[in-house]
């Protein structure tokens, strides 16, 4: 069985990496809608998939956060990606399967995955 004391090892490991983190202004933000509509449509596994990918690829410049209802409930789960200096990109009807390509294409390589965006859905 795991014990909470194991968190101390994570703390020590992260303490060494802290200066590698980029400062607030150049961070990419990934925001997942987690209101009733998002949760009912499957936002929880999508958010989990983002956390897994960001952790797996050690993307130190990415913040994953949650928000309320984005306003287009029928297209949930919705994920907004904010890259500094660029226009916001809104991905709709997200699934855990789509997350891997959004992370590798958009967050890492800077290429928007057009087919998953709200523009392609509407």
């Amino acid at each position: 069985m795991k014990s909470l004391a194991e968190l101390r090892a994570i703390r020590e490991r992260m303490a060494k990496q802290i200066d590698l983190r980029e400062s607030g202004d150049d961070r990419i933000r990934v925001v997942v809608g987690m209101a009733t509509c998002g949760i009912a449509a499957g936002a929880r596994p999508v958010l989990n998939a983002f956390l897994e990918e960001v952790d797996k690829r050690q993307l130190k410049n990415v913040t994953v956060s949650q928000t309320g209802c984005i306003g287009v409930c029928r297209l949930e789960p919705i994920v907004e990606v904010y890259v500094p200096g660029q226009e916001k990109v809104t991905y709709v009807k997200m699934t855990p399967d789509k997350v891997a390509s959004v992370v590798s294409e958009h967050l890492v390589n800077g290429r928007v995955v057009e087919e998953y965006t709200i523009g392609a859905a509407e």
Partner: protein, 182 residues
């Protein structure tokens, strides 16, 4: 919603929006019934809001005149022969208690509580949250102050590495609870 855990995630977000600093989540499974309680110290509701809060056409948001969190939960609980109780005092906090009759065919499974609790921590890392899951006589309890004590001030519990570790930890605890309990 397909799981009771998703209702917990949804309703607990209301507490965070209400400015709660402490949140106590209890899930109790006893013969024939599943009951969860979410108690916060947020801003609470006025008697008039409390009276209409289970109505889908009541909401505090300003973007549109509908809010479905509590009405959906009330419907789901009552469909199984259970009930929803809400107590609230302005300036003190709100307690939501939902009872499901587990043997009813419409009763959703408990579902992924580990996922729900870790994502609440991820979304509100400063919140002091306790989570107690009781199955018959056995119980598991998590207090985020213990997590904070291990991590110190510099590492946020919202870090993906921490959240994923916590999810595995909770899944393990949940699984052993179910195995012995059920």
């Amino acid at each position: 919603m397909k799981e009771i855990a998703l209702y917990v995630l949804d309703i607990a977000q209301n507490s965070i929006t209400a400015g709660a600093k402490h949140l106590d989540i209890t899930l109790a499974e006893e013969t024939g019934r599943i009951c969860f309680t979410i108690a916060d110290d947020g801003r609470g509701m006025s008697p008039s809001l409390l009276a209409t809060v289970s109505d889908p056409f009541t909401t505090t948001r300003t973007t549109r005149k509908m809010g479905l969190g509590l009405p959906l939960l009330r419907l789901a609980a009552e469909q199984t022969g259970g009930r929803l109780d809400i107590e609230s005092t302005e300036g003190v906090g709100t307690t939501v208690r939902a009872l499901f009759c587990a043997e009813h065919i419409d009763c959703p499974p408990v579902g992924d509580m580990a996922g729900t609790i870790t994502l609440l921590i991820q979304g509100a890392p400063k919140l002091e949250l306790t989570y107690t899951h009781q199955v018959e006589e056995r119980a598991f309890r998590l207090d985020t102050r213990q997590i904070r004590a291990e991590l110190g001030e510099d590492v946020s519990p919202a870090e993906p590495e921490v959240i994923l570790w916590l999810r595995d930890y909770l899944q393990e605890q949940e699984a052993s609870l179910e195995k012995i309990g059920g």
